[in-house]
């Protein structure tokens, strides 16, 4: 990029509607990233388990959300009912994945707590292989997708998600606004969970000092199961939204895609710190939106830029602050 090009970019960038557009894009992306990453952050915060299957749970959530909508919504269902059913789909997915997450913790992860943390990473990686393949089997068995988009589920979206709105001089999809709102809602809900509930207290105590928490008589076993379940449920909720987002859509590779995003966000923020996760989601969302804008407006010809930039931020942050923005060095002792 030559000197003149930089000036061009700056002139273009300082246009108020451009800035508004970038910030609006950043808002919806950050909200998505918070939803994808917060479950991972909670699980690591309490248990020190890095759940590699998190992305696959998100992917499963996308399919489940779609399936619930396809079952409940018919051609004659009106707009408001659809919106209501959308929330039903979110709640149902959250419930199902919470159960699945709890079951995974009890059957597979529980036997590994007294082994090196490495084995938890390895085991959840095995869960990825199995979950992905099971979803592939289901998709094939029910003939869901010839290609990446699942048309039957696409048609069931509530009207306002599919329509376009103009906010601050920028035209945007209703879905993106909804994602932003849902993200804010999720942050508030998790914050309330952390500060107002017993399990929130356990998580906060556990991420400060796991051994002391146990010594004080907290039933860590059950807390682990609950938190793993809730974390998995949150991953599922994020998936339901992604199902209708044209930038993602339901597909098996969605698992790895969201997993990597979740890792980047959680690690930039500092493993185990929810505040860090929110801040990092904001940073990654903003750089992502900016890079997308650079590419879409032909300022940079490299198509991989938006995808690459979040990893560059990750590497940059880790070079300067190895423990992440809000992380404590060596969380979980490994």
């Amino acid at each position: 990029m030559s000197g003149i090009a930089v000036v061009d970019v700056l002139v273009d960038l300082l246009d108020p509607s451009t800035l508004a557009g970038i910030f609006l894009g950043a808002f919806s992306k950050s909200a998505l990233y918070v939803m994808i990453a917060s479950g991972l952050s909670l699980i690591f915060g309490l248990m020190g388990v890095l759940n590699f299957a998190h992305g696959s749970l998100t992917m499963l959530g996308a399919y489940l959300g779609g399936a619930v909508m396809v079952v409940l919504v018919s051609g004659g269902t009106g707009g408001p009912t659809r919106l209501l059913l959308f929330f039903v789909a979110i709640a149902a997915t959250f419930a199902l994945l919470t159960l699945l997450g709890g079951a995974i913790e009890v059957t597979l992860i529980r036997p590994l707590y007294d082994r090196a943390p490495l084995f938890q990473i390895l085991l959840t990686f095995g869960v990825v292989l199995v979950l992905d393949e099971l979803v592939r089997i289901a998709v094939e068995l029910y003939g869901l997708q010839p290609r990446t988009d699942w048309q039957a589920a696409f048609g069931t979206a509530p009207d306002f998600l599919a329509e376009w709105y103009t906010v601050a001089g920028v035209t945007t999809r209703g879905l993106y606004l909804f994602e932003g709102l849902l993200g804010v809602l999720a942050v508030v809900a998790i914050w309330a969970f952390l500060t107002r509930t017993r399990y929130g207290l356990y998580i906060r105590a556990g991420s400060e000092d796991p051994e002391m928490t146990r010594a004080l008589g907290v039933d860590v076993r059950r807390a682990f199961t609950v938190v793993f379940g809730v974390g998995a449920g949150l991953a599922g909720v994020a998936g339901v939204v992604l199902m209708w987002d044209p930038r993602f859509g339901a597909s098996v590779p969605l698992g790895v895609e969201t997993l990597l995003v979740a890792f980047v966000v959680v690690i930039i923020g500092g493993l185990g710190s929810f505040r860090g996760t929110v801040a990092a989601a904001g940073i990654v969302g903003l750089t992502d939106a900016f890079a997308t804008w650079l590419f879409v407006n032909d300022h940079v010809a490299f198509a991989g830029l938006p995808e690459m930039v979040s990893f560059v931020v990750l590497v940059g942050v880790l070079i300067v602050r190895p423990q992440g923005l809000f992380g404590v060095a060596e969380v979980g002792g490994h």
């Binding site: 292989l129 199995v130 690690i267 991989g304 560059v312 990750l314 590497v315 880790l318 979980g332």
Partner: protein, 399 residues
């Protein structure tokens, strides 16, 4: 290892027997065995760093991909100074050296972190490279699909550069026969020739790594794995040891990638820089035994065999079942689904599902892997102990 040396002959013999079809289904073919060798080498190099120092290198595909792309880019005249006529042995070496340079750059940053953070930052670097290679238009017109060498370039040859008599050409579909083995006069077909060519390089690399593991340097690596603080307290510059070990591991991963590209003559982001390529090495290491250098090779042999049996190709078990079971059996309904459909859905090309389950079971119940567990049982290296055991057992029978 001796088993691997005679395998192609054994396979060719068994397939010609009356039970040939069955053997063909169960045993991995020569083509698959070449894959076992180079991916096995990659898995060994992964185990070299992850199994012996305890630092999980989750971005190991970065080095493998670098080696593979270097070969293809050189052969298609896309690199400065390296023409299509560059000897393959030189390319192998260069692939290793470039991988070392990258490993040092990545390692300098990554080894400031440990545990989960180390795994994640190496994954981060590999993903940057993955995204880059998928979009780098110099590779080919459509970088997402990768690039191939094409027919204009001669087959890559492993051997002593400049001495034509000592060359084994890696020929996958390049030419039918590769001439005779120097000195023996035995005819080799393309697949067997490649098998021995690649095998030679893998064996050499394995011996090098084994030598290092058993040297004082290797002792320090294991000390780092067991207790890093203590190793530091004893006076070792742990950071430098880790960095050098990572570079060595990167070197052989690069060589493995170059062998892959030399044999397949094409590369794509999916089979080089992808996270699931690292996953293959991880799977092989866990099944074979993390921290046993030869284990990952056997681990990958297992993986590839399962994949071979469950493949959708004609020598897979799905085709075999469809041919062997009669029309009547296939149409039988089990809970509303016909047997044919069950085979399609649960057998045909479903290796990942069963491998995933095997992987989980190994992590839970056989954490030392096949070779590690064998060593524990035998109380020493398998190659040292097994003959003694067998001899003792035979003597026991005689009495």
């Amino acid at each position: 290892m001796a088993f691997l040396a005679v395998y192609p002959v054994l396979y060719a013999t068994l397939v010609r027997t009356p039970l040939g079809r069955e053997f063909d289904v169960i045993l991995p073919g020569a083509d698959v065995m070449v894959t076992v060798l180079y991916v096995g080498l990659f898995a060994i190099s992964f185990d070299f760093i992850s199994g012996y120092t305890g630092y999980l290198s989750f971005g190991h595909s970065l080095f493998y991909g670098t080696g593979a792309y270097l070969v293809v880019l050189a052969a298609t005249e896309k690199l400065p100074l390296l023409g299509a006529d560059t000897p393959f042995m030189l390319l192998l070496l260069l692939a290793g050296v470039v991988a070392v340079v990258i490993a040092l750059a990545v390692g300098v940053v990554s080894f400031r972190l440990s545990g989960v953070y180390f795994a994640m930052i190496t994954l981060g670097f590999a993903e940057v490279a993955h995204v880059f290679i998928r979009n780098w238009d110099r590779v080919s017109g459509n970088p997402r699909d990768g690039a191939s060498v094409g027919g204009g370039v001669d087959a890559f040859a492993v051997g002593v550069p400049g001495v034509d008599a000592l060359q084994i050409e890696l020929g996958r579909l390049v030419r039918d026969s590769l001439g005779t083995v120097p000195g023996l006069g035995v005819e080799l077909d393309a697949a067997a020739g490649s098998y021995y060519g690649v095998g030679l390089m893998v064996l050499l690399s394995y011996l090098c790594m084994q030598r290092i593991i058993h040297s004082p340097f290797g002792r320090v690596m294991i000390a780092v794995r067991e207790n890093e603080e203590r190793a530091r307290a004893v006076g070792y510059d742990v950071y430098k040891f880790k960095l050098v070990a990572f570079a060595i591991s990167g070197f052989f991963a690069g060589v493995a990638g170059a062998l892959f590209a030399g044999y397949r003559r094409s590369v794509a982001p999916v089979n080089t820089f992808d996270l699931f390529v690292t996953a293959d090495a991880l799977l092989a290491s866990i099944v074979g035994g993390l921290g046993t250098l030869a284990g990952p090779l056997y681990g990958y042999l297992f993986t590839a065999s399962v994949e071979g049996v469950l493949t959708t190709e004609s020598d897979g078990i799905a085709r075999y079942l469809r041919d062997a079971l009669g029309e009547g059996t296939l149409a039988t309904e089990v809970g509303g689904v016909s047997v044919a459909e069950l085979i399609n859905v649960f057998v045909d090309g479903r290796a990942d599902l069963y491998l995933g389950i095997v992987f989980i079971l190994f992590v839970l119940y056989v954490p030392r892997g096949i070779l590690g567990t064998l060593r524990d049982r035998l109380g020493g290296h398998v190659a040292d102990r097994l003959p003694d055991r067998v001899r003792a057992r035979i003597r026991g029978w005689r009495k």
